[in-house]
């Protein structure tokens, strides 16, 4: 792991919760959508908060794709969940919201999960294909 890879994981962590929060705010303005009016979901993206949320989620998607190109799915998902902790910290210290004991325990669990997975290897080591080995051997001989 190098700085670039940590920054990519940070991008995944930050863009996802911010995007979800913006979508939630926007959808509260749009109102309930029943199963009979499902096409209305397509119009929901015209709400500016939903639109901004989608832009944030595109940033998440780009970082996520990059992370998956060099790390396992079971590494990227827990490692990038620090965003939940970040959101709680913003709520506590930025917005001065009260955080309950249950939430603090949740923060501790998420942080320890992130610590667990990031202390291990980021990708499953696989044996090199035989064909590739044969080619390499032929080049050396």
């Amino acid at each position: 792991m190098n700085l670039r890879k940590y920054l990519v994981l940070a991008g995944v962590s930050v863009f996802a919760p911010v995007g979800d929060s913006l979508l939630s705010y926007g959808m509260k303005q749009v109102g309930n959508i029943s199963l009979r009016d499902l096409p209305d979901l397509l119009l929901a993206i015209t709400n500016p908060w939903v639109g901004l949320g989608i832009v944030m989620l595109l940033g998440f998607f780009a970082s996520y794709m990059t992370a998956l190109s060099w790390a396992d799915l079971t590494y990227v998902l827990p490692a990038s969940s620090l965003g939940y902790v970040l959101l709680a910290m913003i709520a506590r210290f930025g917005l001065h919201e009260r955080i309950s004991l249950t939430r603090w325990i949740g923060i501790a669990l998420v942080s320890s999960g992130v610590g667990f997975v990031t202390s291990g290897p980021e990708v499953t080591k696989r044996p090199r294909p035989r064909v590739a080995d044969d080619h390499a051997a032929a080049e050396h001989s």
């Binding site: 939630s24 998902l77 827990p78 969940s81 949740g106």
Partner: protein, 131 residues
């Protein structure tokens, strides 16, 4: 009363769809990215446009995006019926566990005790943070 039950039913239906479709999407996208290789190295060697073409021509990527779109609209549907404090943590925590199972079966990832512990700790933590 009926409206409250309907709201909960729709919310959990949405959560089920979010979990299944985002899990399928994650597995497909992960497979696509493993086929392509390190995007940073591709970008350095061939440029951003080439990377874009490489990704969008991969069929696993395209299928993954379709699954993610289904997950996204299921999430929007769920959010229109219930609070993000229920939909977000429930969908996220169940997705962590479902992904660990799916990655082991379909991607043959080595999900050792450390990764299981991480997935379960994060899933439990996300639920507690949403309470």
């Amino acid at each position: 009363m009926i409206r409250h039950a309907m709201s909960n039913l729709n919310a959990w239906l949405a959560i089920l769809f979010v979990v299944l479709s985002s899990c399928a999407g994650d597995v497909l996208l992960s497979r696509a990215m493993k086929q392509i290789g390190d995007l940073g190295q591709w970008r350095a060697r061939r440029g951003l446009l080439f990377v874009g073409l490489l990704i969008t021509r991969n069929r696993y990527f395209l299928l993954g995006v379709v699954c993610m779109a289904i997950a996204f609209y299921s999430l929007l549907f769920g959010l229109s019926w219930n609070d993000v404090s229920l939909i977000g943590p429930a969908a996220a925590s169940l997705t962590f566990v479902a992904n660990a199972i799916a990655a082991r079966i379909f991607l043959h990832e080595h999900v050792d005790r450390r990764r299981w512990a991480a997935a379960l700790l994060v899933a439990a933590g996300v639920v507690l943070m949403g309470l």
